[in-house]
């Protein structure tokens, strides 16, 4: 960011330009939201209406009723799957990243490289082998399958982000704890993790969001529609009722509620995650 603050006329112009750009960029979201409150009939009117003339909340109400349009169950499934994946990722990644930041153990470089490479992995490489593995483990068609698979996206990301946080904590803090009689484990749990808390939150958010957005694992490893996550539910619905846009757009809005909430309350964490995770590696 430039040091000197821009004032006066050019400030006003830049503000207007940026708002226009924002409106253009977020138009798809706005349009989806508007459409979800229109009746099926109104959606097909040409020229399109810019706000719902007849407010239709059917597409939302139907989602909590029984029947084909029920998305509440899928939403709940997604929530359970994403939370599970997030917990596994955080619990495993926090100590791992501390190890990479603080210790020069055998195989450190190779392991770090391993975490980096997994971030580049296309999902199709893992799908079939995981499918066979989960069938053999008897967890195919249960929540466990996508939970275990989704955690593999969160772990490498979290390790790479968090190692920077742990590396920035002064060593003296840890040494003081040892002098006071702390074991390694105690110092890690009681002193280091609390200091690295912002980083842990970033990891939790991203691990959750990665799992929330997943379609391939949820669709491939779960057969029963009632157990599938919301992304797979939407995809399935699109195949069956391709042009029921009023329902489809309402599903889309419901599916992004958690994303929106996380964004509103934790925007700074997200930006720090995007910049740290991707550039520094």
């Amino acid at each position: 960011m430039d040091e000197k603050k821009i004032t006066g006329k050019s400030n006003v112009i830049l503000c207007i330009v940026s708002v226009v750009i924002l409106v253009l960029l977020l138009f798809p979201l706005f349009w989806t939201l508007i459409t979800s409150f229109k009746t099926e009939k109104e959606i097909f009117i040409i020229p399109p209406t810019w706000y719902p003339h007849e407010l239709n909340t059917r597409s939302y109400a139907a989602q909590i009723e029984n029947g084909d349009f029920n998305m509440f169950k899928s939403f709940f499934n997604s929530f359970v799957i994403s939370t599970g994946a997030m917990l596994i990722a955080v619990v495993l990644a926090v100590p791992a990243s501390y190890a990479i930041a603080r210790y020069k153990f055998v195989g450190r470089k190779a392991m770090l490289l391993g975490f980096l490479v997994t971030q580049m992995l296309p999902v199709s490489v893992l799908l079939t082998p995981m499918f066979i593995m989960f069938r053999n483990m008897k967890i195919y068609n249960t929540w466990w399958a996508p939970v275990l698979a989704d955690a593999t996206i969160g772990i490498p990301f979290s390790v790479l982000i968090l190692k920077n946080y742990f590396a920035s904590i002064p060593k003296a803090l840890e040494e003081a704890a040892y002098i006071d009689g702390c074991t390694r484990m105690m110092a890690f749990m009681k002193i280091l993790v609390p200091v690295a808390k912002p980083g842990v939150i970033v990891c939790a958010i991203f691990s959750f969001l990665y799992a929330w957005g997943d379609l391939a694992y949820g669709m491939t490893f779960i057969l029963d529609q009632e157990k599938r996550p919301i992304t797979a539910g939407i995809f399935n619905f699109m195949g069956q009722y391709g042009t029921k846009w009023s329902y489809l757009t309402a599903f889309a809005i419901v599916a992004i509620i958690p994303v929106t909430l996380i964004f509103i309350f934790m925007q700074n964490y997200i930006i720090s995650g995007m910049t740290n995770g991707a550039v520094k590696g």
Partner: protein, 299 residues
């Protein structure tokens, strides 16, 4: 026993902290990579997927894949898709980064809000763009007609030539925030004094961009492009939900074709083979990326 204890006493104590995560990744990622490789040298269909004899067939799958017209098409599509996406998302992202680098009242707030598309589930993005690009109700056809750019509604997603444009547009929408935020972060590392002294010497904005911004931003630009390549080259959900690779395979990417072979046609070995080709390309590009980023790092 004492020896074991000594081994883990100093630096190797780190192993105890990293082992759980490492083993997890070994089981759920390492092993699948290996078994996918083996799968591509076998002949596995729905009959012998979980149980039964799996025969080794050497390079047969690879030879067949490279003779497969759809595979070659998917390979070309993947490259086209990636290059188009990279060009547009980089250019737009760069312009936005330059804008948000200025210190005006709304800069921070608006920059934050432009990140939203990046966080959305790809399935939702695909749905939104499918709706906007649809023939009769699509807002894009309506706007283009209002601007007199087209006479009749374009069948975006059911015409081979235009379907690619639609999926590229959707992916660029996701990619813009990613490019913006990384380039904007890179811009903040350029010392302000350089611009000030250039102004004193009479350099205009364009000259400053060419002579100061671009050369100093080069490391960031390199990593943004290589990372963008990796993320775009393996895109799967977006295209699968929007077009399922159609019409007439015109939007099939390596990732969607691999999925189709394995889970629609149940030719698991062929699907694995395509996935391995995709992985190999990403791996090579990935090594390039590591070379760029690791240079400055202590490890």
């Amino acid at each position: 026993m004492k020896k074991v204890k000594d081994f883990f006493r100093y630096e190797n104590a780190g192993l105890l902290f990293i082992l759980p995560a490492f083993l997890y990744m070994l089981v759920f990622v390492g092993y699948p990579i290996l078994s996918n490789l083996i799968l591509s040298f076998q002949d596995v269909s729905v009959k012998n997927l979980v149980h039964g004899q799996k025969h080794f067939v050497g390079f047969t799958n690879y030879l067949q894949i490279f003779g497969d017209e759809v595979f070659r098409k998917a390979m070309g599509n993947t490259l086209k898709f990636t290059v188009y996406c990279l060009i547009f998302q980089f250019l737009i992202g760069f312009l936005l980064a330059l804008l948000f680098n200025k210190n005006f009242t709304f800069a921070k707030t608006v920059r934050g809000l432009t990140m939203i598309p990046w966080m959305m589930p790809m399935t939702v993005t695909a749905l939104m763009f499918k709706f906007m690009f649809s023939t009769d109700v699509g807002i894009i056809n309506y706007i283009l007609k209002c601007l007199h750019l087209i006479q009749n509604n374009v069948e975006w997603l059911t015409t081979p030539r235009t379907a690619m444009i639609a999926v590229v547009a959707a992916n660029v929408w996701i990619g813009i925030p990613f490019n913006t935020i990384l380039l904007a972060t890179g811009l903040t590392t350029i010392p302000q004094e350089l611009y000030e002294s250039a102004s004193v010497d009479g350099a205009n904005g364009w000259q400053q961009l060419i002579k100061i911004t671009l050369p100093l931003l080069r490391p960031t630009i390199e990593s943004v492009l290589v990372l963008g390549f990796i993320y775009t080259f393996k895109v799967y959900d977006l295209v699968y939900v929007m077009t399922e690779g159609g019409p007439v395979n015109s939007t099939h990417l390596l990732s969607t074709y691999s999925y189709k072979l394995s889970f629609d046609l149940f030719q698991y070995s062929k699907g694995s083979t395509v996935a391995n080709v995709l992985f190999l390309i990403l791996f090579i590009v990935g090594l390039l990326y590591l070379k760029i980023t690791m240079q400055g790092e202590e490890d």
